[in-house]
Symmetry: C2
Amino acid sequence: MIEDKNQNKTSLSELGEFGLINHLTKHFKLKNASTIKGVGDDAAVLDASEKQTLVSTDLLIEGVHFDLSYMPLKHLGYKAVMVNLSDVYAMNGTAEQITVSIAVSNRFPLEAIEELYAGIQLACETYNIDLIGGDTTSSTKGMLISVTAIGKAAKEDVVYRNGAKETDLIVVSGDLGAAYLGLQVLEREKQVFQVDPNNQPDLDAYTYLIERQLKPEARKDIAGLLKELGVKPTSMIDISDGLSSEIMHICSKSKVGCKLYEDKFPLDPQVISTCEEFNMDSTMIALSGGEDYELLFTVPIADFDNIKGNPNFSIIGHITEENQGMNLVTRANQEIALQAQGWNALKKE
Amino acid sequence: MIEDKNQNKTSLSELGEFGLINHLTKHFKLKNASTIKGVGDDAAVLDASEKQTLVSTDLLIEGVHFDLSYMPLKHLGYKAVMVNLSDVYAMNGTAEQITVSIAVSNRFPLEAIEELYAGIQLACETYNIDLIGGDTTSSTKGMLISVTAIGKAAKEDVVYRNGAKETDLIVVSGDLGAAYLGLQVLEREKQVFQVDPNNQPDLDAYTYLIERQLKPEARKDIAGLLKELGVKPTSMIDISDGLSSEIMHICSKSKVGCKLYEDKFPLDPQVISTCEEFNMDSTMIALSGGEDYELLFTVPIADFDNIKGNPNFSIIGHITEENQGMNLVTRANQEIALQAQGWNALKKE
């Protein structure tokens, strides 16, 4: 789809490195007062005033983190930004800047990189983010994207992973498992396509799943929602590797245990029906699926009434003493020790 | 050299992603008061107090930016940090934090990545830098390193590229061209080695050149030196792509022209002798070599007495009106228009 077979396409080396950066970033407008200087000098210059600065970075590699046979480049650009903003929101902060570095092999024409940057730009506009720098280079194979997100928060608002206390409620935003199932659907369609390129897939039953995989949205809204409710989480993390792996991070950093209740997991109807079709256990998918980019956090039990019934949140368990371990309570009321079975980029080879 | 032929070596997948990050970063100690939280949460937390924050990022790719057949991994780690600190120093700031993301194929055992991080750690200790985050993943081919450097400076101290004024003096720290010649020497030795692996190279005549290529030092000292002299540059940039390319950035951002004087270029004796041996023009090497990581800056002509005779600095030209263009004045007193012939990662394929 994106091989450079069309001789009308523009080769990247025609533009040179500085030409390419200028070309790709000229339509990006700075939006935040904290961005004093963006692209175009040795370093960007930021001013967080009295606030603390939040920094997070992620690397996405073709063939490891994404497959361009079903991931459109514009969606990839959008998702690469979301993945990083999500980390800043998970600190209860406001994301304001990103740097984007890309390496691309010469199989990509300029038009492909423009598509990628169109997705990055859409993300920047939707989430009020300034692109302030980056690096553009060639690779010997494939494409990779490295994004660093920068945000800010008042010192008293920053939420770490290590503040969960016994009896705290465990809360998750949105629903779980859809992004992973979206990937399974896309992988299946790719295989069908390889066998029969004329087959027209009917994906109506999976639209939510596919959107969650290809165009995830970071939960920019949660910090504000919680502030309105008068709730400050005691710990928070975003769900990139799967619920199980993330709650284990919170528990180990906070030196506590937890109980998660299987019957409380928020699942979209498409997740339930697709799990049946694929003969998968929806609880396993919710625990280990990953890429949901929802926020997982703990709140004092006194905030129960503030969270309960809010359609944005599900209370899925509570924090226990450390020596009770980290457990799932099944519908049959059995306790099973949690395992971190989330996605591991180092094992995917 | 670093192929995983030794079965006693540790495979990266044994550790998993979080295990690897913990393993690699556990010996890094936080040193700066501005680092509130480093590795281990969704985002790092920084506090620049009243100062402005400087952010710069670079991507280094095996086969494009470095060749592991003569670049030891420890040196590579050190250099990857230097390249980024240099950008912060070029803003007249203090570098305080880095994030490091790496992707490695399964040909690298853990011990190789430890070597890389030993170099990163040495750089952090020597330059008083905190490692505050990053990402570790597998790649389908080779190694890449993405570093983001963060620093700070008082608002009134930040020096941009765009402040050069007519009659300003053009000044460069250190000397030029050695890193590029070091690369030429190493490339030649690699070819000799391929023909005759038993040949013992005698590199005594090139020690400075090779050190400048394999272990460059960023000019952390310049901001302090200039402050002591009571000099504030009107513009500044670091020399990564070559003097010619860098002065052209300053001129185009400042909307001015320049004259550089060939006979003023600071050249190490090894640069001069090796240029003769390789039959290269030392002026061309100084202009286009790149990777010197010296600082190029402009100062008001009133500062002439403060800069003149200082062994750290060479006055190599002056700023002119924009319509006079950007020119080199040769020893024969001829004027030649400068060309940006610096290193371009997009053309190196």
